[in-house]
C-alpha cells in the first residue's frame, strides 16, 4: 500500500515536471518572433531579414497612397507612428484598405528598403461602431487607435 502511494506521488511529480517544462518552453518560444511578423520600427532597427517572405504589420499612413492611373500598381507607406516603410503592390486591394487602416502586408524587403508586397490584407480589430459614432469621435479626436492600430 505504501509502495503504491509512493508510486502515485512519483507519477504526479513527474507529470507536474513535464507540464512545467512544456509551459516554460512555450512561454520562451512565444517571446521570440516565431511567425516572421515585423513592425516598421523593427525593420528600421534592422531586425528584419532581406529578400525573405515575411509579414509587415502597421497602419497605412495618411496621404501616402499613390495609384498608378494606367495599371493596378499602387504604393503607400506603412507606419507604426514611429517609423515608416514604403510598400509597392501590384494587385487588387481589399475594400477595407484605406488610409489610417491597419494592414498586414506579406512580401519581401528589398535591399533598397522598399517592401515589395505579394498580398495586402486589411486587418480589422475588435472595435465596431456606427459611422456617426466614428465621425463624432473623430471630431473630438478621440477615435481609438483602433482606427487600425493593430500592428502589435
Amino acid at each position: 500500500m505504501r509502495l503504491q502511494r509512493k508510486r502515485r506521488l512519483t507519477i504526479i511529480a513527474g507529470l507536474m515536471a513535464l507540464v512545467a517544462i512544456a509551459v516554460g518552453l512555450t512561454l520562451y518560444a512565444l517571446r521570440a518572433n516565431i511567425d516572421l511578423f515585423f513592425t516598421p520600427s523593427q525593420i528600421a532597427a534592422g531586425d528584419a531579414p532581406h529578400d525573405r517572405t515575411m509579414r509587415l504589420g502597421g497602419v497605412v499612413k495618411d496621404d501616402s497612397v499613390q495609384r498608378d492611373p494606367d495599371s493596378l500598381a499602387v504604393s503607400f507607406v506603412v507606419t507604426d507612428f514611429a517609423q515608416d516603410v514604403p510598400v509597392r503592390f501590384d494587385d487588387i486591394l481589399p475594400d477595407l484598405f484605406r488610409e489610417g487602416q491597419g494592414v498586414v502586408v506579406i512580401g519581401t524587403l528589398g535591399d533598397d528598403g522598399d517592401f515589395a508586397a505579394q498580398q495586402v490584407l486589411a486587418k480589422h480589430d475588435e472595435n465596431y461602431m456606427p459611422p456617426e459614432v466614428a465621425d463624432a469621435l473623430k471630431a473630438t479626436n478621440s477615435l481609438p487607435e483602433g482606427a487600425g492600430n493593430s500592428a502589435g
Binding site: L30, I34, D35, F37, R55, G57, I92, L93, P94, D95, L96, F97, R98, Q101, V104, Q119, V120, L121, A122, K123, H124, D125, E126, N127, Y128, M129, P130, P131, E132, V133, A134, D135, P144, G146, S150, G152
Partner: protein, 250 residues
C-alpha cells in the same frame, strides 16, 4: 456528510436513468424551442434591419451575427462533449455518452459554419477568403477532430466499445480548444481578438452588441433544444428492448 453523499448519488443515478431523462427532455424541449425561435427571430431582425452599419466595413460586418455565435458554439459543444465523456468514463452513465453522440454532428456543423462565414467575411474585409494564420488553422483542425470523432464511432460494430473509444478521443482532442482560444493573443494573427469577454464591456455600442448577444443566446437555445430532441430519439433507439419504451411507443 455521508447521508449527503448518498443523496448526491441518488440524484446522479436518477439523472442517469433513461426513462426519467426521456420525460424530462420532453418537458424541457418546448421551452428551448420557443426561446430559440424568439431569440433568433428578434436577433436576426434587429441585427439585419435596425443595428447600424460599421463605419469602416459598412453592412458586410453583419456577418458577425452568424460568425461569432457559430464559432462560440463550435467550441462550447466540444467542451460539453468533453464533460459528457468524463461523466461517461468515470461514472459509466450511458446517458452521457448518448448526449455526446448527438452533440458531435452539431459541433461539426457549427465549426463548418464558422469557417464558411469567416471566409465570406474575409473577402470584403481582409481581401482574402482564407489565410493560414493560427486562428483559422486551429479552427480547421477542430473540424477534422469532429469528423474523426464521428467516424470513429461509426467504425465500431459494438456500440459500447465505440462509445468508450470516442470518449478517450474526445479527451485527447480537447487540447485544441485552448489553442483556438489563445491563438489570437499568442501570435500576431490577422484575426481580431474576441468580441465578447467576461471581464470587459464589448468594444461596440449597445445597438450592435445587443443583437449579437441575442443571437449567441439563440444559438445556445437552439443547440439545447436540438440536443434534447435528438437525445430523446437516441434514448428510444438504444433502450428499444426495455418494457417502458415498448409501452411508450404503443
Amino acid at each position: 456528510m455521508r447521508g449527503k453523499q448518498i443523496g448526491m448519488w441518488k440524484l446522479i443515478h436518477k439523472l442517469g436513468s433513461p426513462k426519467w431523462c426521456y420525460q424530462l427532455c420532453g418537458r424541457l424541449q418546448p421551452v428551448f424551442w420557443i426561446a430559440a425561435a424568439a431569440l433568433l427571430a428578434v436577433g436576426a431582425v434587429w441585427s439585419l434591419a435596425f443595428s447600424p452599419p460599421d463605419y469602416q466595413m459598412g453592412d458586410s460586418y453583419r456577418i458577425i451575427y452568424v460568425h461569432v455565435p457559430a464559432a462560440i458554439l463550435a467550441q462550447s459543444v466540444f467542451l460539453a462533449m468533453t464533460f459528457a465523456s468524463v461523466v461517461f468514463l468515470v461514472w459509466k452513465i450511458k446517458l452521457a455518452d448518448m448526449a455526446a453522440s448527438v452533440m458531435a454532428p452539431f459541433g461539426a456543423a457549427m465549426t463548418l459554419l464558422g469557417l464558411f462565414s469567416g471566409a465570406v467575411w474575409g473577402i470584403p474585409t481582409w481581401g482574402t477568403w482564407w489565410t493560414w494564420d493560427a486562428r483559422l488553422t486551429s479552427m480547421l483542425i477542430q473540424l477534422f477532430i469532429y469528423i474523426g470523432i464521428i467516424a470513429l464511432r461509426g467504425a465500431f460494430s459494438r456500440p459500447e466499445q465505440g462509445a468508450k473509444a470516442v470518449a478517450v478521443l474526445t479527451l485527447v482532442g480537447v487540447v485544441n480548444i485552448p489553442i483556438i482560444k489563445y491563438s489570437v493573443s499568442w501570435w500576431n494573427t490577422l484575426h481580431q481578438p474576441a468580441t465578447f469577454t467576461l471581464t470587459e464591456r464589448p468594444a461596440m455600442p449597445e445597438s450592435m452588441w445587443m443583437p449579437l448577444l441575442l443571437m449567441v443566446l439563440g444559438f445556445y437555445c437552439f443547440f439545447t433544444a436540438l440536443t434534447l430532441y435528438r437525445l430523446r430519439s437516441e434514448i428510444l433507439k438504444r433502450e428499444s428492448r426495455t418494457r417502458w419504451v415498448q409501452e411508450a411507443v404503443k
